[in-house]
């Protein structure tokens, strides 16, 4: 799951120096904006065949947060 999330993420951002880690923050470290995140959510829904409601994203700040959330959904 972690590797897949990173693979999808790297469609949106250049790999930062030091690479991606579970603690990497979407906004603070990767400079993603809300529109990038909204589109990526669509990719995650397609990849894992799930539905993600926007309010569920509110507390997802790091890759670890997102992976844990997806594991709960799948």
């Amino acid at each position: 799951m972690y590797e897949k999330v990173c693979e999808i993420l790297l469609n949106y951002v250049e790999e930062p120096e030091g690479g991606l880690t579970p603690e990497t923050r979407f906004i603070d470290d990767l400079a993603m904006n809300s529109l990038d995140i909204m589109t990526m959510v669509g990719d995650l829904e397609d990849e894992f065949d799930i539905t993600i409601e926007t309010p569920e994203l509110r507390n997802l700040f790091t890759i670890r947060d997102l992976v844990k959330f997806l594991e709960g959904k799948v």
Partner: protein, 453 residues
């Protein structure tokens, strides 16, 4: 020699081809940008940079072709880019340049836009050693985002040539983008998006115009406006200043709240429309650049979508909270914006018994601060120019027009449908509303509206 490969059009392009066939003015589908150089330039280097960019940006080389079966398809040409036309106005005047721009606005790409380059650069020498670059592109191959991508790429190539550095990477072919776009239609994602849109429009939206009316043919008692007649699609353009001080205040507030500054202008527009139309349920359409992935950003092409943003909330909401509501509404719309707005309307109109010659679309808004460049070897300001047509009563843009740090509200309003005074009143309201809202975000919209009028 490798056989030329043809590709189908995207849904957007098919719509544009159909529109081009309906109207006698193909230039209604052209986008115009003027680039005013603030710094001195090397003409030779700029011309090289433009030529190299045309070669390394595959979407610039896309051309349309009529197939033997009558269908229209597209391909990537291997021909060298057309040379840049140079116009010498070094002894001329600004008025002469304005007159030329109006003339160019009316010119068409030759050969019915088939098998020809669909963008054209002109370099104008002005007095005092200044230069202006004029760019016209056909919407088939570029939207405003990719048009600016092209200008940025020219800037990057110019800088690389100036410094003896490596050129920026060549952009990828746009065909994967086209494939992704076309794969969406008929997919589960489209079905999910369709369900989402129908849920947002279970109740009828309001036609919220800038003057509180539906236009000259407003039908009393109806809540939707008449579509413009063809004659009403010709525009006047009004540019009104948003002072740097206010721009900086909005930007600072937005940074603190982790919002896009665009949300502030959208809230101001929404609040004005709510007031003049006496409705808390306001819909504004916004073109959205569907470019989030690295590939989408670099592949250029024309994939902007127009999507309605419905903002229904009470006027007693504090300004700060209303910003969050607008941002949330826009984020959700962006998530589902691949869905064809045309399909949403086709679903809504019969449900709400709306005749075909009516519409809910009254105002479009885009926020384009990226039109200003200040980095690298070239310093310039890019201004998107009017193309003389607008398909809705009012198209409002927020963009820089010079190097001062000011922004401008640019109002392309349909003559015979929207009045200049309505745009002036909206602009004055917006300035006051934003100034007050940024300073007093705990105030209700109702109170801020009252004080802004």
């Amino acid at each position: 020699m490798e056989e030329r490969k043809y590709y189908p059009l995207s849904k957007e392009q098919e719509g544009l081809v159909m529109l081009a066939g309906l109207f006698p003015f193909p230039n209604l589908l052209y986008l115009f940008t003027e680039i005013d150089f603030v710094s001195d330039i090397s003409e030779e280097r700029l011309l090289d940079a433009i030529r190299i960019s045309g070669e390394r940006l595959p979407y610039c080389r896309v051309r349309l072709h009529d197939m033997d079966d009558g269908s229209c398809m597209q391909y990537c040409s291997e021909e060298a880019p057309d040379p840049v036309e140079i116009i010498d106005l070094s002894q001329g005047t600004e008025e002469e340049l304005e007159s030329l721009k109006l003339q160019w606005q009316k010119e068409n790409f030759p050969n019915n836009q088939r098998d020809v380059q669909l963008y054209r650069f002109r370099l104008i020498r002005m007095p005092g050693g200044k230069h202006v670059l004029h760019l016209v592109v056909h919407h088939f191959i570029m939207d405003a985002f990719s048009m600016m991508n092209t200008v940025r790429y020219v800037d990057a190539v110019y800088s690389a040539l100036s410094r003896g550095e490596q050129l920026p990477p060549e952009a990828p072919l746009p065909w994967k983008l086209l494939e992704e776009e076309n794969a969406y239609f008929g997919s589960k994602k489209e079905e999910r998006d369709g369900q989402w849109w129908r849920a947002q429009y279970e109740t009828e939206p309001m036609f919220c115009s800038v003057n509180g009316l539906g236009g000259p043919e407003y039908v009393e008692g109806k809540r939707y406006g008449r579509k413009q007649s063809f004659e009403q699609m010709f525009t006047e353009l009004l540019r009104m200043r948003i002072p740097k001080e206010l721009v900086d205040q909005v930007n600072a507030s937005a940074a603190e709240r982790k919002l896009s500054p665009q949300v502030y202008y959208m809230l101001a527009l929404r609040s004005y429309l709510a007031h003049v139309n006496k409705s808390d349920d306001v819909m504004v359409v916004t073109p959205m650049a569907m470019r989030s992935t690295l590939y989408q950003k670099s592949a250029g092409f024309s994939i902007a979508k127009t999507a309605p943003v419905r903002m229904a909330f009470p006027s007693d909401l504090p300004f700060g909270e209303a910003l969050n509501r607008v941002a949330a509404a826009e984020n959700e719309v962006y998530r589902h914006a691949h869905y064809e707005y045309f399909n949403l309307k086709a679903d809504m109109f019969p449900r709400f018994e709306v005749p075909d010659d009516c519409t809910y679309d009254s105002v479009w808004l885009t926020y384009q601060p990226f039109f200003k460049m200040g980095s690298s070897e070239l310093r310039f300001v890019a201004k998107m120019l009017d193309n003389g047509f607008v398909p809705i009563p009012l198209y409002m843009l927020v963009q820089p027009q010079d190097d001062t740090g000011d922004l401008y509200g640019i109002y392309c309003y349909a003559l015979g449908y929207t009045k200049k005074e309505s745009c002036e009143q909206l602009h004055a309201f917006m300035l006051r509303f934003l100034e007050l809202g940024v300073a007093e975000p705990e105030q209700s919209l109702e109170e801020l509206i009252r004080r802004s009028l």
